[in-house]
């Protein structure tokens, strides 16, 4: 038994609707988007993290993503850390030399790296590397209907695709930040001792004597949040791709830009919470 649609409305006419049109004019759309987008973004994150984690099935995919977005980022992070250490040592020495005792160079480098430079710079690197990769990968899957295929099979695409990626960036980034801190401080120690006339023992005294656990934990808390935002930005824009290859490119750019902006925003918020005197 089958029934056929019956309507006399001509082709191309607007269907009558019993609903209220919230966006009757295109002029209103950007304003509505500005209001809705942050809620949509956070709802997406909650949707990914809340619900069945199904560790038995998620674990292997998490390990694979951790390898891609964590271990895979080590070379570029190490190279960047070397230059962070070198530049910070030179700049700190330039600012403080002759004004305060030499061990303040070690203090300046240590605290700058731990509190600010390591988390933010590593966050930017992972944003550029992973948010773009995730957005492009998931965007291509969206365009080729692979995400639709998961849905129709009854496989939760948020659990299958997003959860391992967000967990991998959230856990991988703090580890990368520690790598950055270690490499940057040792590189600063090396250049201070060899070129800046700050003995290694004096530099080390400056780093260790003024070390505060709160500086370290603040940086790690930042890194976890940055990682979560980077992963979520990639997944969010990857899932919302529309319009083929051009859409994938647009999503990739947006994921990186949003990640960078959110890193700075959260950095300020954490500074207020952890370090406000």
């Amino acid at each position: 038994m089958s029934s056929i649609a019956t309507t006399d409305r001509p082709f191309g006419s607007s269907p009558s609707s019993g609903t209220i049109d919230l966006m009757p004019g295109r002029a209103n759309i950007p304003r509505v988007r500005v209001l809705v987008a942050p809620i949509d973004y956070l709802a997406f994150l909650v949707r990914c993290l809340v619900g069945s984690w199904d560790l038995r099935r998620t674990w292997p995919r998490f390990i694979a993503q951790l390898s891609t977005h964590g271990v895979g980022a080590v070379p570029v992070v190490v190279i960047t850390s070397v230059f962070i250490g070198l530049t910070t040592a030179v700049q700190t020495s330039y600012q403080l030399m002759g004004v305060v005792p030499k061990y303040f160079v070690g203090m300046g480098v240590g605290r700058l790296v731990l509190i600010e430079l390591a988390p933010v710079m590593t966050g930017f690197i992972v944003a550029g590397r992973s948010a773009s990769a995730i957005a492009a990968e998931l965007g291509a899957m969206r365009v080729s209907e692979q995400i639709d295929a998961l849905e129709v099979m009854g496989v939760d695409p948020y659990r299958y695709l997003c959860l391992p990626r967000i967990l991998a960036t959230s856990i991988g980034l703090p580890v990368l930040v520690v790598v950055t801190e270690v490499v940057a401080v040792f590189t600063a120690l090396f250049i201070s001792a060899s070129m800046l006339n700050v003995p290694a023992a004096v530099f080390t005294y400056g780093v260790t004597h003024f070390f505060m656990v709160r500086d370290f934990t603040g940086g790690i808390v930042k890194a976890v949040l940055f990682g979560m935002l980077v992963g979520n930005s990639g997944c969010y824009y990857g899932f919302s791709v529309d319009g083929g290859a051009q859409g994938v490119g647009r999503a990739t750019t947006r994921a990186v830009v949003l990640s960078a902006v959110l890193i700075l925003l959260v950095d300020f918020a954490i500074a207020l919470v952890f370090f406000k005197t």
Binding site: M1, S2, S3, I4, A5, T6, T7, R9, F11, G12, S13, S14, P15, S17, G18, R57, M141, S144, E145, Q146, D148, A149, E151, V152, M153, G154, V155, D156, Y160
Partner: protein, 229 residues
């Protein structure tokens, strides 16, 4: 049974579906005909719960489909996408086995057995270890059908299953659909612009025209072409 009630869908100013209503009784194979871009895939995706309509409702076995959530419990729906939608990072066998691995607690050996069975049914046994990138268009379509069938769904949707394929692969796909209709009484919806395939596969045939469905059982080729000229 699948019931579509007064479903409308438009993209910007173009009305693609205009208060379409349709019942697909259990065990029947229905074909929806129409040229490219007429809205067949949109209707199929709405029927499968993958795309939300602007208006109207869809029911699967009397239960309303809530779009944006999972419409159906595990394994009750199969969907063959036009481009296959196979996962590049997995092999053919892994693609087919995915739904069983992710939604059931079957043993590894049972999953492997079912995977090999369904690949054999579509004539793709021996290709399980290949990457989807190494497959031709016809082979991709056959693997997509195997993936849709492996969980033994009661309803299967096909989006242009025979388009652009050589006669041998086309006939193999038609044979699989016919077997599901005649021997397993599965509910099937096929959207295609291939009139011959539609007539040979379906018990009910409709044409989508100007956003509406019209009955087209035993339609002649000249009339079909005339309808869209």
């Amino acid at each position: 049974m699948i019931r579509v009630e007064e479903v409308s869908k438009r993209f910007r100013d173009k009305v693609v579906l205009d208060k379409v209503s349709l019942d697909v009784p259990d065990g029947t194979t229905m074909a929806i005909l129409g040229p490219s871009g007429i809205g067949k895939t949109v209707l199929l995706k709405i029927m499968a719960g993958l795309l939300g309509p602007d208006e109207g409702r869809v029911f699967h076995d009397g239960r309303r489909v809530h779009f944006g959530r999972f419409a159906e419990p595990t394994g009750r729906l199969g969907y063959v996408f036009q481009g296959g939608a196979l996962f590049d990072s997995l092999t053919v066998a892994e693609n087919v086995a995915l739904v069983l691995e992710e939604t059931t607690r079957l043993s590894r050996s049972e999953i492997d057995r079912r995977t090999q069975d369904v690949l054999r049914r579509v004539g793709m046994s021996g290709h399980g270890c290949l990457s989807p990138r190494a497959l031709s268009g016809g082979m991709t379509r056959l693997v997509a059908i195997a993936r849709a069938l492996v969980a033994d769904p009661h309803t299967i949707f096909y989006d242009e299953p025979t388009t652009g394929l050589d006669p041998a692969v086309r006939e193999r796909i038609c044979a699989v659909i016919r077997e599901l209709r005649e021997q397993r009484s599965r509910t099937q919806v096929v959207v295609t612009h291939d009139l011959d395939a539609a007539c040979s596969l379906a018990s009910n045939t409709y044409m989508l025209r100007a956003g509406r469905l019209v009955r087209a059982d035993n339609v002649r080729k000249e009339d079909y072409e005339q309808a869209y000229s």
